[in-house]
């Protein structure tokens, strides 16, 4: 079997269900090695950019790419090597904003920043802290897991503190 990119070269490995030659595999490994620490998953956040530069990293922070993989979203514009979306606008296509405040939010809802420039996934919901006398009841504590370029890792942060309690949830 021949390489999916270079038809005259023989297959050295199957990656994302397609055959690639030794040259492609080496370039793919180099492109993956150049990715920032927060990009998750890593092996597929690359693409073949043509003869000039070969395999290269995909544009953007990779925040939407993480959410797309977790929820199997492969719609809209450009996709990663494994076929998943990596634009924030694409991961919320066909989904509705969750109404009813934080009490209505569930694990695996998609959180999106107000500017629609960052996204993550609701990974944990803790019960509300005890109510103080004379104060309204506290909302539950929502934790969001996201490919955090600023923290250089896949991070889990509180919605009310790290994200300042802003943004929308989609389901």
């Amino acid at each position: 079997m021949t390489c999916a990119i270079h038809p005259v070269a023989t297959r050295a490995a199957f990656i994302c269900d397609r055959p690639y030659c030794a040259r492609c595999v080496a370039e793919m490994q180099a492109a993956v090695a150049s990715l920032d620490g927060h990009v998750t998953p890593r092996d597929c956040f690359i693409w073949y950019s043509g003869n000039r530069n070969g395999w290269a990293r995909i544009m953007g922070t990779g925040c939407a790419h993480y959410v797309a993989h977790q929820l199997n979203i492969g719609v809209g514009g450009p996709r990663c090597l494994a076929g998943f979306s990596h634009r924030v606008a694409d991961v919320i296509i066909g989904r509705q904003v969750v109404d009813g405040g934080l009490a209505a939010v569930q694990v695996n809802d998609i959180w999106v920043s107000p500017i629609r420039n960052h996204t993550g996934l609701v990974s944990q919901i803790d019960p509300p802290p005890p109510q103080s006398p004379g104060k309204p009841p506290n909302p539950p504590v929502v934790w969001i897991t996201h490919a955090s370029s600023a923290q250089h890792r896949l991070a889990t942060n509180r919605f009310d503190t790290y994200f300042h309690g802003s943004g929308d949830f989609f389901r």
């Binding site: 920032d36 927060h38 693409w47 950019s49 043509g50 000039r52 530069n53 290269a56 990293r57 995909i58 544009m59 953007g60 922070t61 925040c63 939407a64 514009g77 450009p78 990596h86 634009r87 924030v88 606008a89 107000p114 500017i115 629609r116 420039n117 960052h118 955090s148 370029s149 600023a150 923290q151 250089h152």
Partner: protein, 148 residues
């Protein structure tokens, strides 16, 4: 007499061909190195930023993107090549302008950035219009993902 007329006609034909060749060469020279039949390359900045989604996690990153776009809209290619910007963790001087654009913007189609072309093509009015739209989007706290 007949033979003389034949030479005259041949001479006129050769002179005419010479004029045509000279005119064609001059016309080609005026267009620079680009061949007459070669299609014009699309503007690299327009390809990169028109309809692109901006991805950033915090205000520091947004401010650095804004600074880079302001430079791209106003500085000449030689100066743009020397500029450096903070990376994702706000460490200053880590990225070139082209690297910053590649790390924060997602074009409507997968795109391979030609760094030299970005700096050169940024000087055109259509590129500056697209850059201006992205700058306005940052200042107004929104995306500018409308395709050109």
């Amino acid at each position: 007499m007949v033979r003389t007329l034949g030479w005259v006609k041949l001479s006129i034909l050769l002179i005419g061909l010479g004029i045509l060749y000279t005119t064609a060469c001059a016309s080609r020279g005026a267009k620079g190195s680009q061949s007459v039949n070669e299609p014009q390359k699309p503007n690299e900045v327009v390809l990169l930023l028109a309809g692109a989604e901006r991805q950033a996690e915090n205000d520091e990153q947004e401010r650095e993107i804004l600074r880079a776009l302001e430079d791209l809209r106003t500085l000449d290619p030689a100066t743009l090549k020397t500029k450096r910007y903070a990376d994702y963790q706000s460490v200053p001087g880590k990225w070139t302008l082209a690297t910053l654009l590649q790390r924060y913007f997602v074009s409507p189609e997968l795109h391979d950035i030609d760094e030299e072309a970005v700096y050169r093509d940024a000087q055109s009015p259509e590129a500056r219009d697209v850059i201006g739209r992205q700058i306005r989007a940052i200042r107004e706290g929104r995306q500018d993902t409308l395709a050109p």
